[in-house]
Structures are given as structure tokens and as C-alpha cells.
């Protein structure tokens, strides 16, 4: 089981989810990806994205305007 980190701070929509998608394509089932985003729309986007792509949102938090999401590949 591998862990990945994506720094998508400063990227605007749809940058963060395309980055996440590309990383997820390479990851194996069970791998965990952490992504940091400053685009405020991402908080809702990541929930829809996980539901649609059948990946699991393990954690979603915000620290100093940075949204940090932890996603497990389904």
C-alpha cells in the first residue's frame, strides 16, 4: 500500500481534480492520496468526485484556507 501527496495549492478549477485523477490512475486499490488545495470550491467538489469515481474520502479538513483531503483508492 503506497501513499502519495499532491500539492495543488494555487491551482484553479479544474486543476486539482485533474491532478488527482491522473495520480489515481497510477495508484493501486487501497493506496492513499493526500491533496492540498486552495480553491474553495474543492470542498464540495471532492465529495462529488469521490462518490462518482467510487473512491473513499477518508478525511477532509481545512487549515489556514488550505483544504486537505485524504482519499483511498477504491
Amino acid at each position: 500500500m503506497a501513499e502519495y501527496f499532491i500539492d495543488a495549492k494555487g491551482l484553479q478549477c479544474p486543476g486539482p481534480i485533474t491532478q488527482l485523477f491522473k495520480q489515481m490512475r497510477e495508484a493501486q486499490s487501497g493506496d492513499v492520496v493526500t491533496i492540498e488545495v486552495t480553491d474553495q470550491g474543492f470542498k464540495r467538489d471532492i465529495e462529488s468526485w469521490c462518490k462518482k469515481t467510487k473512491n473513499e474520502l477518508l478525511e477532509l479538513k481545512e487549515e489556514n484556507s488550505v483544504i486537505i483531503a485524504k482519499i483511498k483508492k477504491g
Binding site: 494555487g10 486543476g15 481534480i17 485533474t18 488527482l20 462529488s48 462518482k52
Partner: protein, 158 residues
């Protein structure tokens, strides 16, 4: 019908509308969807490669070509165009706010496997030849569009 399929008709060559089309298309592809974009009438100008030229065009075809924006860098805005100052301002703001520019968006769309189809009928009408389009574009007709649209869960006309 398949919910994991989307089609978008790009009819306009307004920069703002084309941007919206590409944001939705790349977003959908990043959600794991199969996306096809159909470029018709003014939308064909998005696919014109500024560096490419076609041989054997008639006078009217050349004139049509000269009067339309040649490629993605030359697109006007639907509002506040102000003879081309509007798009310059918009691009400046986009760069400042780190929004992906259209040329990159198109590259990204191709990387994500988005299919781009140019409408053969409008290419003919407007005198646009296949040789002057960017690489990776397919040519198709209304049946191609309808075939894909009838399978798709979302179909947009922009």
C-alpha cells in the same frame, strides 16, 4: 444511456464560452467520464492551428478564413470585447489568478482522452480544411454526434 458519457457541442468561438466548455469537458474526464466535443460553425475556429496552412483554397474560402479568428489565441469575448482589449485583460487576470489558459486546457483535454470532432459540413461551408486543424482532431458528421449523444447522460450546446 450511460451516465459515464458526456457530449458537448461547441458552436461559439467566444473565448469565455469555449473556456466553459473545456472546464466542463476536462472536469468530466477527471470524473472518469468518456467525453466527446463536437466543434461546429464558429467553434471550428478554436481548432485552427495558427501555424498551419492549407493549399488549394478558393478566393471566398481564403476570405472567410481571414475574417475569422485563426486559432485559440485569437478568440474574442462574448461581452466586453472592446476590439480585442477585453480578451487581453481577461488573459492577464487568468494568468494572475493562475487559471489554466485555453491552449493548455486543450492539451490537457487531449491527454485525458477527450475526443474532439470537427463537423465536416461546417468545415466545407466555411472553407476550413483538415490540414489547418490542430493534431488529433477527427472529422465527423451529424450521425457521429447523434450516435454519441443518444448514449450520453449529459449533452451541452455552447
Amino acid at each position: 444511456m450511460r451516465e459515464d458519457k458526456k457530449t458537448i457541442i461547441v458552436f461559439s468561438n467566444d473565448m469565455d464560452k469555449v473556456m466553459a466548455a473545456f472546464v466542463i469537458a476536462t472536469g468530466a474526464a477527471a470524473m472518469g467520464d468518456e467525453v466527446t466535443m463536437f466543434f461546429t460553425f464558429w467553434g471550428l475556429n478554436v481548432l485552427r492551428d495558427a501555424k498551419k496552412k492549407a493549399q488549394g483554397k478558393s478566393f471566398l474560402e481564403k476570405m472567410f478564413g481571414a475574417m475569422m479568428p485563426k486559432g485559440v489565441e485569437k478568440l474574442p469575448l462574448s461581452k466586453m470585447n472592446f476590439l480585442g482589449i477585453g480578451p487581453k485583460l481577461m488573459k492577464y487576470m487568468m494568468r494572475k489568478k493562475n487559471v489554466m489558459m485555453l491552449p493548455e486546457m486543450i492539451k490537457q483535454a487531449q491527454e485525458l482522452g477527450i475526443k474532439m470532432v470537427a463537423c465536416s459540413m461546417s468545415m466545407d461551408v466555411m472553407g476550413i480544411k483538415k490540414e489547418e486543424l490542430i493534431d488529433g482532431v477527427e472529422i465527423g458528421g451529424v450521425a457521429t454526434y447523434l450516435g454519441e449523444a443518444s448514449e450520453a447522460g449529459v449533452n451541452l450546446f455552447i
